[in-house]
């Protein structure tokens, strides 16, 4: 296969774009996709302070590097989950990456906050991935708000977005379907959230990370076995193989035709948010779910002792 741009031997084939690119031209394709996402969705400007959530995986590190190369004011935020034989490796990758590329980094430790993820797994009878995700979103938002960032950027890619949309659709979850998208505007207590990689697949991000020499944390989370999210991605991988471009079409059509209808329903029936009486974060209940989980773990630990 030849590079669509320069006719040298291609190193990356992209069936959904009917193209292939060599190692020199591929990063230009990647940059263009990110630029288009930022411009069309009005995500942020070069005057904005951007906090980038860094897990240590290929997507978040690729996003951080690409935004820096495009001249944006970026700061990384890594949450150390406190999972033995896993979190320290991810943290090392993030710290080394930021040091190598001279990028500012904040690290928040769940253990120092009093709630490492293994405690949640042991004491809460709910899927640990869902609770862990909730915790991460809470702290990403809280730190962005407290430290005056204009926007929080995450490395969610097209596969992440499609898998999430698919799961939300299977449940016809009106609340989630009403606001899923590449941009979640700021509102009381919530910073603006953006996903600049939403036009790019995991495969596309993995190629970029490899070509840029990014050392990634690729070990699977020891708690993530059998997560439905992963099996949805596999289903969509097969659909995409049979019909290249279907993922992007499903997602874009939802944004254009489906989301407005769900947003209207949610506007009429959705719950009103007010500050949590414990931590001040926005919630539809008196005490937010993060504070309730924290209290439930403390209670369970006290009983066990």
């Amino acid at each position: 296969m030849k590079c669509t741009r320069c006719r040298k031997t291609a190193h990356v084939a992209l069936p959904s774009h009917h193209s292939g690119f060599c190692a020199d031209c591929y990063p230009l394709f990647f940059t263009k996709q990110v630029e288009t996402a930022i411009r069309r969705e009005k995500m942020f400007t070069r005057g904005d302070r951007i906090l980038v959530a860094l897990s240590g995986g290929k997507d978040s590190l690729a996003l951080m590097l690409e935004l820096k190369l495009q001249g944006y004011d970026v700061t990384g935020l890594h949450i150390d989950l406190g999972i033995p034989n896993s979190s320290d490796k991810a943290r090392n990758k993030v710290e080394n990456f930021c040091e190598l590329n001279e990028l500012p980094l904040r690290v928040f430790e769940m253990a120092a906050w009093g709630l490492p993820i293994p405690d949640i797994k042991e004491h809460i009878k709910r899927p640990v991935c869902a609770v862990c995700g909730k915790m991460k979103r809470h702290h990403f938002n809280r730190i962005a708000v407290e430290e005056g960032f204009d926007v929080l950027a995450t490395g969610h890619n097209l596969d992440d977005e499609v898998a999430r949309l698919f799961a939300n659709t299977l449940r016809w979850d009106t609340a989630y379907l009403s606001d899923q998208g590449p941009v979640l505007p700021a509102s009381d207590g919530f910073v603006r959230k953006v996903k600049p990689l939403f036009r790019l697949s995991e495969f596309e991000t993995a190629n970029y990370a490899f070509l840029k020499g990014i050392e990634i944390h690729s070990d699977p989370c020891p708690y993530a076995g059998g997560a439905s999210f992963t099996s949805h991605k596999e289903l969509w991988g097969e659909l995409e193989h049979r019909s290249p471009g279907q993922k992007f079409q499903f997602y874009q059509s939802f944004l254009k035709k489906g989301k407005p209808a769900f947003a209207q329903v949610e506007k009429e029936t959705g719950a009103e948010l007010k500050p949590c009486t414990e931590c001040g974060s926005p919630t539809s209940a008196e005490i937010c779910s993060v504070c309730r989980i924290r209290a439930a773990v403390s209670e369970s630990k006290a009983k066990a002792e």
């Binding site: 296969m1 291609a10 190193h11 990356v12 084939a13 992209l14 069936p15 292939g20 190692a23 995986g57 290929k58 997507d59 991935c129 596969d159 992440d160 898998a163 697949s201 995991e202 495969f203 991000t205 993995a206 190629n207 490899f210 070509l211 690729s218 070990d219 699977p220 989370c221 993530a224 997560a227 999210f229 992963t230 991605k233 596999e234 991988g237 097969e238 995409e240 193989h241």
Partner: protein, 65 residues
């Protein structure tokens, strides 16, 4: 024979009678956009031919999210 180092599984696999990247991916039951394939630091598209003794890194791209 082709040697495959599969990531993130950390497995080392030997494949016989395999002469292209596509054949390797088929034997691993992977589609071409589900993994990146690298030989001597070079990314390979699925149509590339392989030689006896080639050693590949096949890195699956799906993250747990």
């Amino acid at each position: 024979m082709i040697i495959v180092n599969l990531e993130p599984d950390g497995k080392r696999i030997e494949l016989n009678d395999t002469r292209s990247v596509l054949a390797v991916l088929n034997k691993l039951r992977l589609r071409s956009t589900m993994a990146i394939v690298v030989r001597d630091g070079e990314l390979l598209t699925s149509d590339r031919k392989l030689s006896h003794g080639d050693e590949l890194m096949v890195r699956k791209v799906t993250s747990a999210g």
